[in-house]
């Protein structure tokens, strides 16, 4: 029989709710979120931190859940796309993506929206250049970048109000 695999306990909050999870030290955050917590909004795509489809926020900062150990989130707050809306009220970035039809197939959208939300928290009124620079690590293979840019600009105005 193979030797028992190491296991550890981590306490963290996910979308505002506290969790104490039994995980393997080698567990990746994307797998913990999707398989252990059923939060499948976080998408695995390139798996090498380039595309941004797996973007989640840890203490407000975007990270690639595909290459981030769940161990690293111990004692921290993880936000996934499922936790962005407040009840029935969607986040201004989500509303702007709807209003501007800023998604086509939708696979990059959770990561796009979380990255944009983090950007607007850091820079409430970013220039077009600043948006393009911050979002350059989130790829849309439908190439709908113009709509995404418009949506983020609109959300920036909405958040200001």
């Amino acid at each position: 029989m193979a030797p028992p695999r190491p296991v550890m306990e981590v306490a963290l909050t996910v979308n505002g709710g506290p969790h104490v999870l039994s995980i393997e030290p080698c567990a990746l955050l994307i797998d913990t979120l999707r398989d252990q917590l059923g939060l499948t909004g976080t998408k695995r795509s390139c798996d090498v931190q380039v595309c941004g489809a797996c973007t989640v926020l840890v203490n407000g900062a975007p990270v690639s859940a595909c290459t981030y150990l769940t161990y690293e989130a111990r004692g921290k707050a993880v936000l996934t796309i499922e936790g962005l809306a407040r009840g029935d009220e969607v986040h201004p970035v989500q509303q702007a993506f709807i209003d501007h039809a800023a998604f086509q197939c939708g696979f990059c959208t959770p990561g796009m929206i979380l990255a944009a939300a983090a950007l607007l928290r850091e820079i409430p009124h970013p220039s077009v250049e600043a948006i393009a620079h911050y979002m350059r690590g989130n790829l849309c293979r439908c190439t709908g970048y113009t709509k995404i840019l418009e949506a983020i600009q609109a959300a920036s105005g909405a958040i200001a109000r």
Binding site: C26, A27, V48
Partner: protein, 294 residues
């Protein structure tokens, strides 16, 4: 998917070093993980133990040496922390500028400067910049600490002079003098630079003579490399004279590096690009003498 491993949480660099000594090649130091976890996911490296250096306090500080004025960067400072550091903005804005263009926001939030240097990926931005700035690295082992010029730190692709049980704890960057300006140019179409050129130009107080020139390239060969021939051709000559003969000066790079072909370009192409970017970097540095510096 990662193969199983255990995580160790040392409280000091000495303890981390002792752990690595005891666990041997089954163990690796682990900082941000943006490089290490990638190769482990691919199965290219297999470790049964990761020694988490982030549990050692104080290795992510950014400060200034009161005596020498050198910028002291804790090896575990993330790219984002350096990009946004007020100390870096004041002391070495060129570094903040370079960190801004590293990878993407997610990698910058997690990846550390020390991890970047220790991984020694040939296509990386900080290496050539620090080489042109003549930075030093501090390596700490159970037996004590040593400082090494960064030119001796980089050995080959993915290889450094760090002993397996030594922890890179700090990078020290000497302050530019009042008559030195720096430029870093990166070129490429992927997240990593196809090539990077770092250049530090020092003029005489009258700003007419090239008192010193330091140029380093990354991504062209298997490790960041100084272009000594280029430097020698410019040093001691009039600024206008050098500006008028930049083709010749840049051409000296051919004697300094033998480019390697890889995914980012052929040796011939990289050789041609080095000349172009050395020229542009020199022009950029010279132009900074008319502005606010850098």
């Amino acid at each position: 998917m990662l193969r199983p491993f255990e995580i160790h949480q040392p409280a000091s660099a000495a303890e981390a070093s002792r752990l690595r000594g005891a666990l041997g090649e089954e163990a690796a130091f682990y900082a941000g993980g943006t490089e290490l976890l990638l190769v482990m996911k691919e199965g290219l490296l297999r470790y049964a133990h990761l020694i988490d250096l982030k549990t050692i306090g104080g290795l992510d500080g950014i400060g200034v040496d009161a005596t020498t004025g050198a910028l002291c960067l804790g090896a575990l400072a993330t790219h984002a922390a350096i990009e946004h550091s007020p100390v870096v903005a004041e002391r070495f804005p060129l570094l903040a500028e370079v960190e801004r263009s590293v990878a993407n926001v997610r990698v910058k939030n997690v990846g550390t400067l020390g991890g970047n240097l220790c991984f020694a990926e040939p296509h990386a931005d900080p290496g050539p910049l620090f080489l042109a700035c003549e930075a030093t690295v501090r390596l700490e082992g159970a037996a004590g600490a040593r400082d090494l010029p960064i030119g001796q730190f980089f050995v080959d692709a993915y290889q450094t002079a760090r002993a397996p049980e030594e922890v890179l704890t700090q990078i020290r960057v000497p302050r530019f003098g009042p008559h030195t300006r720096g430029v870093y140019l990166r070129f490429g179409w992927h997240e990593r630079p196809a090539l990077g050129v770092a250049l530090a130009l020092t003029l005489d107080p009258g700003h007419t003579q090239v008192a010193d020139l330091r140029v380093a390239v990354g991504g062209v060969t298997l490790r960041p490399t100084r272009l000594r021939g280029v430097e020698d051709r410019a040093r001691g000559r009039g600024l206008d004279e050098v500006l008028a003969s930049l083709e010749t000066v840049g051409g000296a790079a051919a004697g300094d590096v033998r480019p390697t072909s890889d995914l980012y370009g052929s040796a011939e192409y990289k050789g041609a690009m080095v000349k172009v970017f050395v020229r542009r970097a020199f022009l950029g540095a010279a132009a900074r003498f008319n502005g606010s510096g850098g």
